[in-house]
Every structure is written in C-alpha cells, then in structure tokens.
C-alpha cells in the first residue's frame, strides 16, 4: 500500500485526546487533540518554549499526561507497559546521547533490552540504511555530529518502531550534515512507510519534509493542516 493510499484510507496510527500536562501549576501542554495517520510525516512547529518538546515527550510517555490521553492504534496507551509502548513509539532527540563504546553496541541496545540479539548482518544493514556502511566497529567518540545523529537513528530503528518521534533531529548539525540527515529521514519514511512526528523550529524544513504541520503557541495547538496552509507559501 502506498503512502497516499494509506493516508486516503485515513488509518489513524496515533491519536491524542485533550492531551495536557501541568508542571507546578503551569500548563506546558494544553488540551491537544490531533490524529497522526499511518505513514505520514507530521511536523510540529512553534516558537521556542511553545511546548513542542513537552508534547513529544507525552507521546512515548516519557512524561505523564496530567489530562487526556494518547491512543495507539485505537488503544489507550496506558494499557501497554511503558517498555512495550516505547519500543513501538521510538524517539530521536536533538542530541544523540550515544552510549559509550562502539557503534554496534548502540544499535544493539534496544533489542537487547528484550533479550533479543541483533545479528551482525542486521546491524550492518541498518547502518547502511542510515548511510554509515562499515561503521560497525567504530568508537562513538570519534564520530562527527552528523554521523552520531545517524547512529542515533539506526539505534531507534533497530527497535522496529511503528512511529518515530523526532525532536529537532538536525538542529545541532551544520548545514551540510543537516541536509543529509533530512534526506535520510525523508527516504526512511517513504521506503518503510514509517509514521513520523517531527518537532522543528525551522519552517523551511517543515515545508520540505512534512505532509501536515501542527502549529503550537503557549502549549496549545492553534493550527493544523497542510504546510502551505499553516506556514504560508
């Protein structure tokens, strides 16, 4: 099934209902209801401090919602164990936070948490997929920023997530590395019909990459639609 068909059938991968989080009497995320369709790339844009990261962290339950909830394939995500949920909803952050050691160890990390051993071929294939062929035995300390971010993507993909959350995955990279990682993410989404929610403060990036865009302001969702509608041409 192509991405267009899936979107057309409107299968909802992730739905938030009145999702909110208050921290110390401040509402950092307020009453957000939105649908993310299978295979789409949803962008979340908004000014700094508007609650983009806070919203994303609610989607894999890294923070606890104080109101509302999230449905994953129609099921309230609190029915899943946090570990199962986080395997299904992966996350890549601005800084890669690679674990000390070799690239392969990082890629193996997710599956090994469930007692699964990722075969060497699988690791090689994942690394090839993110544009790092032959990096298996490299130490993470001497990788460039762009390479580290690619390892972090491969590490997240090793869990075979259904949904990938991306929090400004390119904002710590220089222009060239940024374009490379951006294209990589786009091709991953297309080839594997991965569902993505990506936070970015870069409106041009959102235009280039996203099928739909959600605009946030002061913790609220204020607009939600095609990039051209939300961000202007």
């Amino acid at each position: 099934m192509s991405i267009a068909q899936q979107t057309a059938t409107g299968a909802v991968a992730l739905r938030t209902e009145h999702l909110g989080r208050r921290v110390a009497d401040v509402s950092v995320v307020t009453d957000i209801s939105l649908d993310v369709y299978h295979g789409e790339m949803l962008g979340i844009v908004g000014a700094s401090g508007s609650g983009k990261s806070s919203l994303l962290r609610l989607l894999n339950r890294l923070d606890e919602p104080t109101s509302g909830t999230v449905f994953l394939d129609g099921q309230d995500y609190r029915q899943f164990s946090p570990r199962e949920l986080r395997r299904r909803v992966g996350m890549v952050t601005q800084r890669p936070f690679l674990f000390p050691g070799k690239v392969a160890g990082n890629v193996r990390f997710g599956p090994s948490q469930r007692g699964e051993v990722l075969a060497d071929e699988d690791i090689a294939r994942l690394l090839e997929r993110v544009g790092l062929p032959g990096f298996t035995a490299r130490e993470v300390t001497n990788l460039s920023g762009g390479e580290q971010q690619r390892v972090s993507l491969a590490r997240a993909l090793a869990n075979r997530p259904e949904i990938l959350l991306l929090d400004e995955p390119t904002s710590a990279l220089d222009e060239q590395a940024k374009m490379g990682v951006e294209q990589l993410i786009c091709s991953l989404v297309k080839d594997t019909s991965l569902t993505c929610v990506m936070v970015t403060h870069d409106r041009d990036q959102a235009r280039r990459m996203c099928d739909r865009v959600a605009l946030m302001e002061a913790g609220r969702l204020i607009q939600y639609g095609k990039p051209a509608e939300v961000l202007g041409a």
């Binding site: 946090p82 570990r83 986080r86 992966g90 996350m91």
Partner: protein, 262 residues
C-alpha cells in the same frame, strides 16, 4: 600546668575545653585579619559542640547506671536521627529519608547485632554505645555520600537515562552504572581508613583504650576490628540505599522523575 590548678576531673575538663576553644578562636581571629570571616560560625559551632557533648556525657553518666537493654533504644534513636540527617544530602529524591533510615538501620543494625552476638562487642553500655554509635555515624556518612553521588550522577546524565528509557530499557538498568559508581565512591573513606590505619591516624577508640590503660596491642587489634565492622556496615548500608533510591528516581510508569527542574 592545669592539673596543679584544678583538682576535680570535671573542673579540669572545663578548663581544658576553655583553652582549646581559645586556641580555636585565635585561629579564627587570624583568619579575620586575612578577611576570612568565620567568627560567628565558629563561635556558634564551638558553643553548640560543648553543649551537645556535655549533654551526651551527662546522659552517658546516667545510662551507665541503667540496665543494658536501654542501649537498644539509644541506638535506635541514633539511627532515626542519622536517617534524616543524611537524607538531606539527597534532596529532590522522594523517599530519601525512609531509604536512608532503613539502610542505616539494616546496615549498622545487622553488623552491630552479629558482632554483639559473637561477643566482639560487649553488651555493657560503655562498650555498645560508643562502638554502635561509631558504626551508625559511619553508615550515615556513607549513605549520605552514596545518595549525593547518585543524585548528581543522575542529574548529570538525565539525557542518557531518558534515551535508554525511550529505547525500552528497564529503569534500574538505565542507572545501574551510576548506582555502582555511587557505592564505590561512598566506600572510599571507609577503605582509606583501613588502609591508613595506624600509619596516618590512630583513631579515637584506640586512643581512649590506651588512655584508660588497656594493653596497647589489644587496643590496636580492637581498633582494627572496629574499622572492619565499619566497612562492613557502611558497605551494606550503601548497597541497600542505592538499591532502594534507584526506584525512587522513577515513577511507576517508568519516567525519570529525579531531575533538576523538579
């Protein structure tokens, strides 16, 4: 010099305390000339110190006449106090006080109990209280060190921990290496004490035994015994407290709650 002037032990003691305080204050004044102001802190600490220790001395004097089992209550009181004191080192960790109290009680209690049962510690109040309190005090310090280290490791590595959680790791697994280094770091003083025993310092208990006329060799060996017991109880305490505090760093939904912001 003093001994010829003061004839009862008590007056002699106060005179000795006076001279020691004068010396301490002289150093404070010296510091003041270099613009380091310790006056109020030092004066209060000195005053507080003498009041506390005289109070304890009086209590001990009373206790010496009471039955042996009263020391159990006294030691329990010390454990409770130690628990809340060292919990302050782990502010922001919910349950730190409970964790500290349980760990110190288990670590110090178990070692004291076994050693008393084995006859290493005498059940006389004069022996059980000083040795027991030394074990508790050291367990308290170790516990404080362990919790403090754990807290700062977790705060410094929140990104790594949450990354591991986001990849489906079990909470205790994400902080295992920080727990380990906390235990290790917290035991350095106890291990160094054993290492330097007799070379760098001759600890208080041995000094006391020597002053009261014990055989120097026995006093020396017994001092080793006490330091080894301290290592055992500190190790147990730190092991337990890091194990318990680990769970308090996370919510039931496996979210990291021990963070600098809240």
């Amino acid at each position: 010099m003093l001994k010829s002037l003061f004839h009862t032990q008590l007056t002699l003691g106060f005179a000795q305390a006076g001279i020691a305080s004068v010396l301490a204050l002289a150093v404070v004044l010296l510091a003041r000339r270099r613009n380091i102001h310790l006056e109020s802190d030092a004066a209060i600490a000195l005053l507080r110190g003498i009041v506390q220790i005289v109070a304890v001395g009086s209590i001990l004097a009373l206790l010496l006449k009471s039955p042996r089992w009263t020391s159990v209550f006294l030691l329990t009181g010390m454990v409770l106090a130690a628990g809340s004191i060292s919990a302050r080192r782990a502010k922001n960790i919910p349950g730190a006080r409970k964790v500290s109290t349980y760990s110190i009680a288990a670590g110090a209690g178990l070692v004291t109990a076994i050693m008393t049962w084995a006859g290493v510690i005498d059940t006389a109040i004069t022996s059980l209280i000083p040795v027991g309190s030394m074990i508790i005090a050291n367990a308290m310090n170790t516990n404080g060190l362990a919790l403090n280290r754990f807290r700062s490791e977790v705060l410094a590595h929140a990104g790594e921990i949450e990354t591991a959680l986001a990849l489906g790791a079990a909470p205790e697994h994400t902080v295992a290496s920080y727990a380990e280094s906390s235990i290790h770091a917290s035991l350095i003083p106890a291990i160094d004490n054993l290492r330097s025993l007799g070379i760098v310092w001759i600890p208080g208990l041995m000094t006391g035994m020597l002053l009261s006329g014990a055989d120097p060799l026995y006093a020396a060996i017994y001092q080793f015994v006490v330091i080894a017991m301290i290592l055992a109880s500190s190790g147990l305490t730190s092991l337990l407290s890091t194990m318990m505090i680990r769970n308090h760093a996370f919510s039931p939904a496996e979210q990291l709650v021990l963070k600098s912001s809240g």
